[in-house]
């Protein structure tokens, strides 16, 4: 894949490693944000601010159709609520891992869920943001 729409994202969660509950079919929007703290090291003699990378500070923002079937969104999130859950995500779940399609995994703190969310004329969804606990593992081999 070179350029393209984002319609093949894979997203798995679970209480054990590797994450095994595949919620991809319920994802309507997905953002993985990778970030590090910027630590200022500016000292005498510098003519501009200088920074080095600090700790990772990553997050996932996902919108999920709130399907209430077993192993779907509602029951999975209710089970994982208030725990650190394993996750795995990829730009294209159907392709093997590569530099163009890395698999990202690690832990997220499931601190917020919206088991009831919607109005009379809309599809029930969960629109969630999770902090990643610790660093992210990036794999460029294997399958999703």
């Amino acid at each position: 894949m070179a350029q393209g729409i984002v319609n093949k994202v894979g997203f798995k969660v679970g209480a054990t490693d590797p994450a095994s509950i595949d919620l991809s079919a319920y994802v309507t929007s997905f953002t993985l944000t990778r970030s590090v703290d910027s630590i200022e090291t500016t000292a005498m003699g510098d003519t501009g601010h200088r920074y080095v990378a600090g700790l990772q500070n990553n997050s996932i923002t996902v919108e999920l159709i709130n399907d209430d079937a077993a192993s779907a969104v509602l029951q999975s999130m209710n089970t994982l609520f208030a725990t650190n859950a394993y996750f795995k995500c990829a730009l294209d779940k159907s392709s093997v891992g590569s530099a163009a399609n890395p698999f990202y995994s690690g832990l997220i703190l499931v601190d917020t869920i919206t088991p009831i969310n919607g109005d009379v004329a809309s599809l029930g969804i969960q629109s969630l943001t999770f902090q990643v606990s610790g660093a992210i593992t990036v794999a460029t081999t294997g399958t999703f």
Partner: protein, 35 residues
């Protein structure tokens, strides 16, 4: 820190915070991993 180290650190941290009882055994090294 390698990716394997990160997975190990995550598992050990879950034990430390009391979410899991013991760290899972390390994944077996496959021939593919060694290449």
């Amino acid at each position: 820190m390698s990716d394997t180290d990160n997975d190990k650190a995550n598992a050990e941290w879950l034990v430390k915070i009391g979410q899991t009882a013991t760290a899972p055994a390390p994944k077996p090294v496959t021939k593919k991993d060694e290449e």
